[in-house]
């Protein structure tokens, strides 16, 4: 396989100005993973600061209700409330290893921005976060959180004023300031080496889940389910299971249904194209213009997807599905009530598909759902949608 490619997908589709920065990052990352001192520091931060390993929780009530064994991989228990911090600590430390003086990031719902602000504060690097103006308005609490953590939030007024425009703006900043700045991409998207690097930082999820399953139940699960926006939590839990006889299911944002344009299901309903530096499945029109997206969950509201997922879709190793906003909301309530765990709306998509899959399972079957984040951030939005607040 060509360097930086997953089958045909991936690559480095960026303006020439960025190529030297990507080359530098690629080299630095190769040295970083072999640097024992830095790996030790990272490992210490992940355990003592972020809270790894996260637990693998058997859901007794939900298992009874759905008729098979349901486990949750509890990334919601991490500091910051989501899997994002695995990656931001990794990259922030890498940035320090490279001698960079400043971190920039982009964020949609604000979770990656918060996780970057946390990592920047912990490791002593100033952080600037690009965020679509529309998202700034609808995610006020996360904006304040980032500011509390010392980060500067820059509203983006261009384009659709959402995540993809924030990424464009962050890339523009990086082009102009490549020498002292590291662009901390939040998912397994973007040009090489980001998809590979972020996957490596997130693979700790799957490595733990696999070992915990063997220890707690004595065998591997029958299936692993994770939600897919850019796809970092999913690739993180899938990767260590790829060579096992375990079914893997990625769940995209079906929004208001795949028959219209109001969804974020790039793999289920997209075509091959180039966005933000990589060849992957995309939501675009026949002319190559990127389509607006919709999801009840801001973290899944993105027209592209990580290139490795595109390869895994084509090869059939991972099955990708879409669930609607309504299904995700039902699952949000289901898990909250049956288990006392409020899932992020992103993760609720995985829970919703698990409900579908469980209908075809026998009592002995075991499913792991990657609970990528906790739902505190979504409580207000759900209340609004249900007319409560």
């Amino acid at each position: 396989m060509k360097k930086g490619r997953f089958g045909d997908y991936g690559g480095q589709y960026v303006p020439e100005t960025l190529m030297s920065a990507l080359e530098e990052l690629d080299d630095a990352y190769a040295r970083f993973v072999k640097d024992q001192d830095y790996q030790q520091i990272l490992s210490r931060y992940l355990t003592e600061y972020a809270g790894r390993p996260t637990r693998l929780t058997f859901c007794e009530n939900l298992s009874r209700q759905l008729g098979c064994n349901i486990y949750l991989k509890r990334e919601d228990l991490l500091h910051g409330g989501a899997h994002k911090i695995n990656n931001t600590l990794g990259q922030a430390l890498l940035a320090r290893f490279m001698g960079k003086k400043r971190l920039i990031a982009e964020t949609g719902a604000g979770q990656h921005g918060v996780a970057t602000a946390i990592a920047g504060a912990a490791l002593g690097l100033p952080v600037e976060v690009y965020m679509g103006a529309t998202d700034v308005a609808r995610q006020k609490l996360n904006v304040f959180r980032m500011q509390l953590l010392g980060a500067k939030v820059i509203p983006v007024e261009t384009g659709s004023r959402t995540l993809k425009d924030a990424i464009n703006e962050a890339l523009r900043d990086w082009v102009a300031n490549v020498q002292e700045t590291h662009y901390l991409i939040g998912s397994v998207v973007g040009p090489h080496p980001f998809p590979q690097m972020v996957r490596d930082f997130q693979s700790v999820i799957g490595e733990e889940a696999r070992a915990q399953m063997l220890e707690q139940q004595g065998c591997l699960p029958d299936a692993v389910i994770a939600c897919v926006g850019g796809g970092s939590n999913a690739i993180g839990i899938f990767h260590p299971f790829l060579k096992d006889r375990v079914d893997l299911h990625g769940v995209e944002a079906g929004g208001k249904g795949l028959d219209g344009n109001e969804h974020g299901a790039s793999l289920c309903a997209g075509r091959r194209g180039v966005l933000h530096g990589a060849l992957s499945y995309l939501l675009m029109d026949g002319d190559g213009q990127i389509l607006p997206t919709h999801s009840v969950s801001a973290g899944l509201d993105y027209p592209g997807v990580g290139p490795e997922h595109s390869m895994l879709k084509d090869s059939g190793r991972v099955c990708y599905h879409a669930v609607t906003d309504d299904q995700a909301l039902d699952a949000f309530f289901l898990l909250s009530r049956t288990e006392g765990i409020i899932p992020a709306l992103e993760s609720s998509h995985a829970v919703a598909y698990a409900v579908e899959l469980a209908a075809q399972c026998s009592r002995d079957d075991t499913l792991i759902i990657n609970l990528s984040g906790r739902g505190d951030k979504d409580v207000g939005e759900v209340a609004r949608l249900r007319g409560v607040a």
């Binding site: 690559g11 480095q12 589709y13 960026v14 303006p15 020439e16 100005t17 190529m19 030297s20 920065a21 261009t158 384009g159 993809k164 425009d165 990424i167 464009n168 890339l171 523009r172 082009v175 102009a176 300031n177 490549v178 020498q179 075509r271 091959r272 194209g273 180039v274 966005l275 933000h276 530096g277 060849l279 995309l282 675009m284 029109d285 026949g286 002319d287 190559g288 213009q289 990127i290």
Partner: protein, 263 residues
């Protein structure tokens, strides 16, 4: 000899390359602006194909892309506009596109359509050397010049490899950063132009930030074969429906002419 080569070999002064976004603010007005630019002295016309996510472009050009898309500009219409201008003018036409334009249409089909519209060169903004093999093959098959970008950060073997594979001209990004008019030329820019021009077997066209007649002579003296003006033109088109366009183009062209050796 291609139209682009001929333009450079006969100029004897800086070649003036002017850029606009096709369909900005709408099809008819941008076609008219293109005619104005060519009539007033642009040597090579660069046409930007509108894209929803033009990440190498600054706010001025990005807004132009948005205006064009809001007025329904399509790939088909960009090719139609190029074909219309080809019938009326002899000047080279270069398309600036993003990689997703190629993938959406299919790379061979894209270059065939461009060739039959009379396009002379194509620059794919986000297709660096490593990713450009298929596009370059398609360009060669259609007799279209494959124009590459080089940046201040392009150095050593990478610079040489790019120079080796480029045809038509080299597009030198004079500064780190996105497109946009800038007031001053820094000494580093002139040094960069000098180094790049020395290393290149084809003309070097300098772009990003050039907006004033007085920028031109020092760049030419440093070895630039052409100057590229984008944001300044797009800004005029966006601001007052292009009323000041002929005056600006003429002033820039006069500054190019003034660099020609005196008889």
């Amino acid at each position: 000899m291609s139209r682009i080569e001929r333009t450079f070999s006969t100029a004897g002064r800086p070649v003036f390359i002017g850029y606009l976004v096709a369909g900005d603010p709408d099809y008819e007005q941008s076609l008219e602006a293109a005619r104005t630019m060519l009539d007033a002295g642009v040597d090579i016309l660069e046409i930007g194909m509108p894209f929803t996510d033009p990440l190498a472009d600054g706010p001025t050009i990005q807004q132009a892309h948005q205006r064009a898309l809001e007025h329904g500009m399509t790939q088909e219409n960009v090719f139609r506009m190029a074909a219309t201008l080809r019938r009326e003018y002899q000047s080279p036409i270069v398309l600036l596109v993003y990689a997703n334009h190629l993938y959406a249409r299919g790379i061979p089909d894209f270059y065939r359509s461009a060739a039959s519209a009379g396009v002379d060169g194509i620059l794919v903004v986000d297709l660096p050397l490593e990713e450009s093999e298929e596009a370059q093959r398609a360009a060669e098959e259609q007799g279209i010049d494959h124009i590459f970008l080089v940046a201040p950060t392009t150095k050593g073997p990478r610079l040489n490899a790019t120079m080796e594979r480029a045809s038509g001209f080299i597009y030198l990004i004079s500064v780190l950063g996105i497109t946009g008019a800038r007031n001053e030329l820094s000494p580093q820019v002139l040094d960069l132009v000098r180094r790049t021009a020395r290393a290149s077997r084809i003309p070097v066209a300098v772009g990003f930030g050039i907006s004033k007649p007085e920028h031109i002579a020092p760049l030419f003296a440093a070895g630039a074969g052409a100057i590229i003006v984008g944001s300044a033109i797009v800004d005029i088109i966006g601001r007052d429906a292009g009323r000041n366009l002929p005056g600006f183009i003429t002033a820039m062209r006069n500054a190019c002419d003034a660099c020609a050796p005196k008889e």
